[in-house]
């Protein structure tokens, strides 16, 4: 058994590059998903019925589709309609679009729970449009939604493992390669599990520091 872990250790570069790719994928798509959500959420809450309806349809639709199928469609299905993306682009696009829907719903929930008056005060004090959103609406929103956004980031990391099926060299894919090359399944996959755990603990530490900021203001 110790010998098996020795083999995994000898392949540490492969594993670390997998970990690096998982991290890059997750961070990039989480950031992009959040940015898209900043646009989707106001649309979800728009008084324009048609706009709110379209975005609501997209958000609910995404929430009903398994991520793996969505990734399959982006990678294998889109070429049928003439859109061919490589596995990195497909993976990133799929993760981003899919999670943008979840982030939008998270922000909508947090926004709806925010008191109306401070935002109104922002308007009365001359903030408008982007300034109002960026300076007055967003900061308390992010503080309130911090823990849920953290949960979603963990979900994104786990979703990124699905991308092993489109041969994206992320952490699970790296563990698979090591296992098929040396036949050390336990050592290879349990190491991957612990690395995933480590990533989540980092996120949880981040969430609890945001939570401390929020507690001081509550």
């Amino acid at each position: 058994m110790i010998h098996d872990f020795g083999i995994v250790w000898s392949e540490r570069n492969l594993l670390l590059s997998g970990l690096g790719n998982t991290t890059i994928l997750s961070v990039l798509s989480a950031a992009a998903a959040l940015l898209i959500a900043f646009v989707l959420t106001p649309a979800l809450m728009s008084k324009q019925q048609w706009l709110a309806g379209i975005v609501r349809g997209f958000v609910d639709g995404m929430r009903c589709v398994p991520f793996l199928l969505f990734a399959y469609i982006v990678y294998y299905g889109l070429p049928s309609v003439g859109l061919r993306l490589d596995n990195w682009t497909s993976g990133l696009v799929a993760l981003t679009i899919y999670n943008a829907a979840y982030m939008a719903e998270i922000l909508r929930g947090a926004w709806a729970a925010q008191p109306r008056e401070p935002i109104e005060a922002g308007i009365a004090f001359g903030f408008s449009n982007l300034g109002l959103f960026r300076r007055i609406v967003l900061p308390p929103l992010l503080l309130a939604a911090g823990p849920v956004i953290g949960n979603q980031m963990i979900q994104i990391i786990k979703d990124s493992a699905f991308l092993t099926i489109i041969a994206l060299p992320e952490l699970t894919h790296a563990a698979s390669s090591i296992q098929s090359r040396h036949y050390v399944p336990f050592a290879a996959f349990i190491t991957a599990v612990f690395l995933y755990w480590g990533l989540c603990l980092v996120i949880e530490a981040g969430v609890s520091s945001i939570d401390r900021l929020a507690m001081a203001r509550r």
Partner: protein, 263 residues
């Protein structure tokens, strides 16, 4: 009355929510240095009137002028862009019933946020002024606290200081003490009285009869969305002209006599 130049001119403002006519054809003026108290039973449209003045609510009809500039509509009769409207709003300070402080900013940051971000004034100057305002409302020691850690009375004093930090031409108060515990009302009224004496131009929606009687230069009595009576406080409280006003005062008579308990 002070020098007589009009800070605020409200001309024939009406507002309805669906079938309900909340304000109908309201007209009044406020001269520089005046403190106008808007009184009336609940549901009479007082808060809506205030919110129409800075276009938080868009009036259905009528005009509102701030030192001669029409709010909300450009010369050509077109509704203003958000940017133009915002610029005018910075000249009208507003104090909210539930304080409406920004929870993610400290007390001092609450005061400095709009002057720096919206008015684009130099931050050193804004900071000095904000510190002076906090001293004025007696909260210098709370400058680095977050709003959530303050009492209601303290929050509202910060709310007033935040409005003053904009150097407004006009201050609007929307029932500034009605969300406070009775023992905290006094500290807020002290600050408001001081402002009135200093010649700040204010429109105050309130149920504090004591404050209205001894700090107002004029009373505007609203009932069912109409200005029923407007008079100096002495005359309004001792010899109201209308039956509606008489009934209203009678209901609050005890409170007036002992100088302004909450209603």
């Amino acid at each position: 009355m002070a020098d007589g130049s009009k800070v605020l001119d409200v001309a024939g403002v009406s507002k309805r929510f669906g079938d309900l006519e909340v304000l109908s054809d309201i007209s009044f003026q406020v001269a520089k240095g005046e403190t106008v108290c808007v009184l009336g039973p609940s549901g009479s449209g007082k808060s809506t009137l205030l919110r129409c003045i800075n276009w938080l609510e868009r009036p259905d009809a009528g005009q509102i002028y701030l030192t001669g500039t029409e709010i909300g509509v450009t010369g050509a009769g077109i509704v203003m862009s958000d940017r133009e409207l915002s610029r005018l709003r910075t000249r009208i300070g507003m104090v909210f019933q539930h304080f409406a402080l920004w929870p993610h900013l400290t007390v001092l940051q609450n005061l400095m946020e709009a002057p720096i971000q919206v008015q684009k004034r130099p931050s050193a100057e804004v900071r000095d002024e904000a510190l002076a305002l906090l001293a004025k409302v007696g909260l210098s020691d709370k400058r680095d606290a977050f709003p959530a850690k303050l009492s209601g009375g303290q929050k509202q004093r910060v709310g007033i200081a935040r409005a003053l930090a904009m150097r407004p031409d006009l201050l609007l108060f929307d029932e500034p003490t009605s969300a406070l515990d009775p023992e905290l009302v006094g500290e807020v009224l002290v600050v408001m009285r001081e402002l009135a004496h200093e010649g700040m131009t204010m429109v105050v929606v309130t149920h504090e009869m004591g404050f209205a009687r001894d700090a107002a230069t004029r009373i505007l009595f609203l009932d069912r969305g109409r200005v029923v009576e407007t008079a100096p406080p002495e005359r309004f409280f001792s010899a109201p002209e209308t039956e509606r006003a008489r009934q209203f005062i009678q209901r609050y008579a005890g409170h007036v006599a002992n100088g302004g308990c909450r209603t």
